[in-house]
């Protein structure tokens, strides 16, 4: 058996090529059904996201499709000229293929390392393959091992829970202050690009009460419509801030601070609620002294950027541990896979040895010896010798598998089989 992986991703192919190979759920299902019909006895898995299209197959090494054949099949299925995608394709086999799949499932090969979306997409694709009945013992084991390794990485490292963007850190910070972020009142002051991005992040966290305030009502209206949030006029700014839990300062203030300490203190009068202020403008629109007010937590874009940078460094530090976990899991899987491979090879060795003994017997019992009465006894005796020699060989393969590795045992067994088959073919040539 051989594990094959062919695919393209954001690192190897531009979006124009990726989208030509990409499939929606219905097409993935169709492709898997056709693959099953075209190559019965093989196992298939197809992953298609905006960043990658990958097909993994477990095929018979001798009789199954070759990697290039599979790649051509995929191109034909999507009606793309193979020559147009050939240069962007990567083909991996056995351990390389398994390592790649484990890495993808753990989100270590993603555009944003650690994002959980890809793990969910791999799970969905695996479910689809199960539904289409294109998975078997090998792929089932492979994906269960991959998901287990991913879970271990999530538990043992902080790769998936560190935000690496300024907007992401701002949301994380809000979650550290407020128990119920969904009911927090968020006021976005300004309708620039960064303000827009923060609205998107807070909406993603299901914040229900977001208001955009901008000097130009037209722009705030546009953002409000785009994200389904409220907007209000600049005159109501003070009133909005007085009621807010989170204020994002995204409106530039070229002539000094827009909000002084006294102004915020006045707005905070007679309230014990926490106010988180994220000032992402340069020059700053909130006086740094505002942070001295009790219950006010003020952060500038530099503070957030610093944390994002630190998180990137910490993620890189965790990568080593994550890769170690992946290698351990791959090694355990390959041991299992190669042990599975040795069984059929041993059977073939036995068949080859028996064939050799039969050929020798045929060569011996020719002419006058053809009618010898001892033929039956000799055949039984040679059969026993072959069995004993076979047992010695199997025992050696078993010892090698335990003391070295299943891979080495498989190579050794394959080597013996090749030699035996060579002897058979040479003998057959002589007889002809």
């Amino acid at each position: 058996m051989q594990i094959i992986l062919i695919g393209i991703n954001h690192k190897t192919a531009p979006v124009a090529i990726r989208q030509r190979l990409a499939c929606d759920a219905a097409r993935v299902s169709d492709a898997l059904t056709r693959l099953r019909a075209a190559y019965p006895g093989s196992e298939f898995f197809l992953l298609s996201t905006c960043n990658r299209v990958e097909c993994c197959a477990v095929v018979d090494r001798a009789a199954g499709p070759k990697p290039a054949e599979l790649a051509k099949w995929l191109a034909d299925f999507r009606a793309v000229e193979f020559s147009q995608i050939e240069q962007y394709l990567y083909i991996k086999t056995d351990e390389d293929a398994v390592t790649h799949l484990f890495t993808v499932a753990a989100s270590l090969d993603s555009m944003v390392i650690g994002e959980s979306q890809i793990t969910a997409q791999v799970k969905e694709s695996y479910k689809m393959a199960c539904t289409c009945q294109t998975t078997g013992k090998v792929l089932n084991r492979l994906f269960h091992d991959a998901f287990r390794a991913t879970k271990e990485i999530v538990t043992r490292t902080s790769i998936s829970n560190r935000r690496v963007s300024v907007a992401g850190v701002a949301v994380e910070l809000a979650k550290q202050l407020f128990s119920d972020l969904q009911s927090a009142k968020v006021v976005i002051v300004g309708a620039g690009q960064m303000g827009n991005l923060l609205v998107e992040h807070f909406r993603h966290e299901k914040c229900g009460d977001i208001t955009v305030v901008n000097r130009s009502r037209q722009r705030s209206c546009r953002i409000a419509e785009e994200h389904g949030v409220a907007d209000t006029s600049w005159d109501r700014l003070d009133q909005e801030i007085a009621e807010a839990n989170i204020v994002v300062g995204a409106a530039s203030a070229p002539q000094g601070y827009l909000f002084s300490k006294d102004r915020i203190k006045l707005l905070m009068r007679r309230r014990h609620r926490i106010l988180l202020i994220i000032d992402i403008t340069v020059p700053r629109s909130f006086d740094p002294a505002v942070g001295e007010i009790e219950n006010v937590y003020l952060y500038s874009i530099d503070d957030l950027a610093q944390v994002a940078q630190d998180n990137i460094k910490l993620r890189e530090g965790d990568m080593e541990l994550a890769v170690g976990i992946i290698y351990e899991a791959v090694s355990a899987f390959m041991d299992w896979f190669q042990t599975r491979q040795v069984g059929p090879v041993v059977g073939q060795i036995k068949d080859a040895f028996e064939k050799i003994s039969e050929m020798e017997m045929e060569r011996f019992f020719v002419g006058p010896r053809q009618e010898a009465h001892c033929r039956g006894q000799m055949e039984a005796s040679i059969g026993r010798v072959v069995n004993k020699l076979c047992h010695c060989v199997i025992k050696n393969i078993d010892t090698l598998s335990r003391e070295r590795s299943p891979g080495e045992a498989e190579r050794f067994a394959q080597h013996i089989l090749d030699n035996a088959q060579q002897i058979i073919s040479e003998d057959q040539k002589k007889n002809q």
């Binding site: 538990t155 910070l173 979650k175 550290q176 202050l177 407020f178 128990s179 926490i274 219950n295 944390v307």
Partner: protein, 304 residues
């Protein structure tokens, strides 16, 4: 130190070892950012609570009465209550700093118990009324709640300090939110106030019923260091809760006040017996148990 019967000593050593290992694991959890330890910490805390309960049962069997008279028992009950609060809240609060903080608080209580460990004592005849059980339980609960409030206050103040100084990276996702810590601090303070009130009322009831039998006048009660400290703590708690409700005190002030009140109440419970002269002590040594402990200690010394 550890003047306990052999079986009690073994159980107590079990608690000490469990608590020390838990504290080391809690440190590891923070230092190495290893969230898997959290489950182990809760398992160890539940074992610690169980052993604490076993120890209380052993004491009850030894004196054939409800073990509420001694300071050691009070600290054990404190540990059991704090442990149970931790186990209950750990279902809702999975941040590593919370479990680490509670584990360290439990370790401090265990160390405190080791300092005050004494053979079980029985109640004086005159003090044997239902008022005593209500009084002792209420006071111990009040102690447990104020210790919990103080633990939350410490976490609150540390988090606040980190957030204000913009060094919040170690907190993100690992510490309960500032709002939750403040709410838990207030919850602890409120529960402590309620139970302390129960304790005071039942104490007054006890005095009203048995004052003559205990050989203490009203003046003696009013001048007793433990009574005075508890009364001051009660007034302090009331003032703190009212001022916080009236929006005069912020979360930070409430947290700082909780720490002061915790110190005051724990000093009243334990310190007043050690450092001040308090007549608020109705236990009577059990001569049989005392001699048993002394002979065990003597055997141990001889063996060495």
């Amino acid at each position: 130190m550890l003047e306990l019967l052999p079986l009690e000593k073994q159980v107590f050593w079990g608690i000490v070892i469990l608590s020390a290992v838990s504290s080391a694991l809690a440190y590891r959890q923070i230092a190495r950012d290893d969230a898997r330890v959290r489950h182990l910490l809760t398992a160890m805390a539940s074992l610690q609570v169980t052993l604490g309960a076993v120890l209380l049962i052993l004491r009850a069997v030894a004196i054939r009465a409800f073990p509420l008279t001694g300071i050691f028992e009070s600290v054990l009950i404190l540990m059991v209550f704090i442990g149970m609060t931790f186990l209950f809240l750990s279902a809702f609060m999975q941040q590593v700093w919370f479990s680490a903080g509670m584990t360290w608080v439990l370790f401090i209580i265990v160390l405190l118990a080791a300092v005050v460990a004494k053979p079980a004592a029985v109640l004086q005849e005159a003090a044997r009324t239902p008022w005593v059980i209500v009084h002792a339980l209420s006071m111990t609960l009040a102690g447990a709640m104020i210790v919990f409030a103080a633990a939350m206050s410490l976490l609150f103040l540390w988090s606040r300090n980190r957030l204000k100084s913009r060094q919040f990276l170690p907190l993100l996702g690992k510490m309960p939110t500032i709002e939750k810590l403040e709410a838990l601090n207030l919850l602890g303070l409120r529960l402590s106030f309620v139970t302390l009130t129960f304790g005071l009322v039942s104490g007054i009831g006890l005095v009203a019923v048995k004052s003559a039998g205990l050989g203490m006048t009203l003046g003696d009660w009013l001048a007793d260091s433990k009574v005075v400290l508890i009364a001051v703590a009660w007034v302090g708690l009331l003032a703190l809760l009212v001022l916080h409700h009236r929006l005069v005190f912020s979360g930070k002030t409430a947290a700082q006040a909780a720490l002061v009140l915790c110190f005051l109440i724990l000093f009243a419970f334990i310190g007043s017996r050690i450092f001040c002269k308090s007549s608020h002590d109705f236990e009577k040594e059990s001569p049989a148990l005392h001699s048993q402990v002394e002979s065990c200690n003597a055997d141990y010394t001889d063996w060495h």
